[in-house]
């Protein structure tokens, strides 16, 4: 079965939802895909007892007024199909082939997770992961939690954990105090972000926020019971039930890479003023083009949804002209939030200490249990993969490849479909559709 849509949007976070809505307003038939069961992405994640937040509620109300948007929840892209097609696997519908005139990638970002001794112990998660799990109903009341890594996400995780009744013992930030303080002061230039920061940090005056510090090791029998933190020359060990450690975000570009889209040095998809990628008919918006937050993602999504530069108008009026007048204010806002993103990037850039690999016996690849020492014996990612199987397990190197990039500077290998574990039935659904080869 093949379904055709004018526009397929991959990802239902801020960028994807805005892209879907803007496309729908233009009269396009839209498929909105997301691998999560509910829309909202990570930042507007819904859960038990968590009503949709106000921007999401408004978007969903707007979207529900358009009959031309089909939502595909719990749906993953397994492979690109030529020409302008995708093989997807949906929890409800199984394997489906889809074709499009225009594809909008709004695939977001994932946490940069860096290994340390004991990071495979149950109870160790990412920082954003802890937030996501709590929002999904995971109880943490009364648990002692250490939040670590880098970036504003640690503060968001702190707020979520405290609200859920956890005792956050410390927030451990690898960035330096001076850079973080400078960033804090720069929030005065963005009142909305300042308000957000103030509301998140209200009541946390007693929480320890350690800068220029790193988690060195998690210890425990069968699950985490203690964590050792390195603060300069000092080491501090805390008893805890959870360690939530993440070092900022990295764009999700697997599908973009497979389609042949150009990727920039920071790892984001290269886009032009209209959010067009280097591949015809493919747009990208939000964190997958460079991490910048929900406000930026929303604006980029709206621009991408307008589809400027592609045949987009359905009413026959000059689409380029009407679009450019609508685009001008959006471009101004995009510039503003990109400047903010650059300040975040500067403040929380990985310091040299965070780029030093942990001890050789620390596992790097969790899927295939391959250690740092085994991997570092090779000259590049490809050789390491072929000899050790690192990056060849279920996550396809999304976790360890990111770490290897930080430690050894190795670019990640071009992804090959299937992009994630798929059912045989899904692959059979693609029979008769040639896979896209670059």
């Amino acid at each position: 079965m093949t379904q055709h849509f004018d526009v397929i949007v991959i990802g239902a976070g801020p960028a994807g939802l805005h892209a879907a809505l803007a496309s729908a307003r233009e009269g396009a038939t839209v498929a909105l895909l997301d691998d999560n069961p509910r829309v909202g992405g990570q930042i507007w994640r819904q859960g038990p007892g968590i009503a949709p937040q106000s921007p999401l509620r408004a978007l969903l109300a707007d979207l529900s007024r358009h009959g031309n948007v089909t939502h595909f929840p719990s749906t993953r892209v397994i492979a690109p199909l030529a020409p302008r097609g995708l093989l997807v696997e949906s929890a409800e519908r199984g394997g489906v082939c889809m074709t499009y005139e225009r594809l909008i990638l709004a695939t977001g970002a994932r946490e940069r997770l860096l290994p340390f001794a004991g990071w495979t112990l149950p109870g160790v998660t990412g920082a954003g992961a802890l937030q996501a799990l709590i929002k999904g109903g995971m109880p943490v009341r009364g648990e002692r939690v250490v939040i670590a890594g880098s970036g504003p996400l640690l503060i968001a995780a702190l707020a979520t954990a405290c609200a859920a009744g956890a005792r956050v013992l410390a927030v451990v930030e690898q960035g330096s105090a001076i850079k973080v303080a400078r960033f804090g002061a720069s929030l005065l230039r963005e009142p909305a972000k300042l308000r957000q920061a103030v509301s998140m940090t209200r009541g946390f005056a007693g929480t320890r926020y350690w800068t220029s510090s790193m988690v060195e090791a998690a210890h425990g029998e069968h699950r985490v019971q203690q964590v050792t933190i390195r603060r300069g020359e000092r080491r501090v060990t805390l008893h805890c039930e959870r360690v939530a450690c993440g070092f900022g975000l990295v764009p999700n570009v697997t599908l973009a890479q497979a389609l042949g889209c150009a990727i920039d040095e920071a790892g984001g998809i290269v886009v032009d003023a209209s959010q067009r990628t280097s591949v015809e008919g493919v747009f990208a918006a939000g964190e997958c083009t460079g991490v910048g937050g929900a406000e930026l993602a929303s604006i980029e999504g709206e621009i991408a949804g307008l589809g400027v530069g592609e045949r987009s108008s359905v009413d026959g009026s000059s689409p380029e002209l009407t679009a450019s007048s609508r685009l001008r204010p959006l471009h101004a806002q995009r510039q503003r939030w990109r400047r903010f993103a650059a300040r975040v990037e500067t403040a929380f850039a990985l310091q040299p200490a965070a780029r030093i690999p942990p001890a050789d016996d620390t596992l790097l690849c969790r899927c295939e249990d391959v250690s740092v020492g085994e991997v570092r014996a090779f000259q590049n990612w490809r050789d390491a993969k072929l000899h050790t199987r690192c990056g060849m397990g279920a996550c396809q190197g999304r976790i360890c490849g990111t770490a290897a990039n930080v430690y050894f500077g190795w670019p990640s290998a071009a992804p090959r479909p299937p992009f994630s574990p798929a059912q045989i039935g899904t692959l059979i659904a693609a029979a008769g559709h040639p896979p896209q080869t670059e």
Partner: protein
């Protein structure tokens, strides 16, 4: 997070019945039921549990209603659902 009047669903995890709020993820339910020491064994036999919480790392995979390799973090609990983890020895 439980509010009175909110819908509850009942799932079976490794033979143990557990009731959670509707909208709870299977990953969260695994913690509710007490799978504190892991839900999967690594290739070398180490206990593992959810890491990324958002469908990337694949560490939280479980069997749901007979279907293997389902990501617990991206699956919502449904009434009558049967979940099996890879048995991990508790401490």
């Amino acid at each position: 997070m439980s509010k009175s009047g909110e819908a509850r669903v009942r799932v079976m995890i490794d033979g143990v019945a557990v009731e959670v709020d509707a909208g709870t993820t299977v990953a969260a339910a695994l913690v509710v039921v007490g799978c504190a020491s892991g839900t999967r064994l690594s290739v070398r036999g180490e206990p593992r549990a959810v890491l990324c919480g958002m469908g990337v790392c694949q560490e939280c995979r479980v069997t749901v209603d007979g279907r293997a390799h389902v990501l617990a973090c991206q699956t919502l609990c449904r009434d009558g659902q049967v979940v099996h983890t890879q048995k991990v020895n508790a401490p």
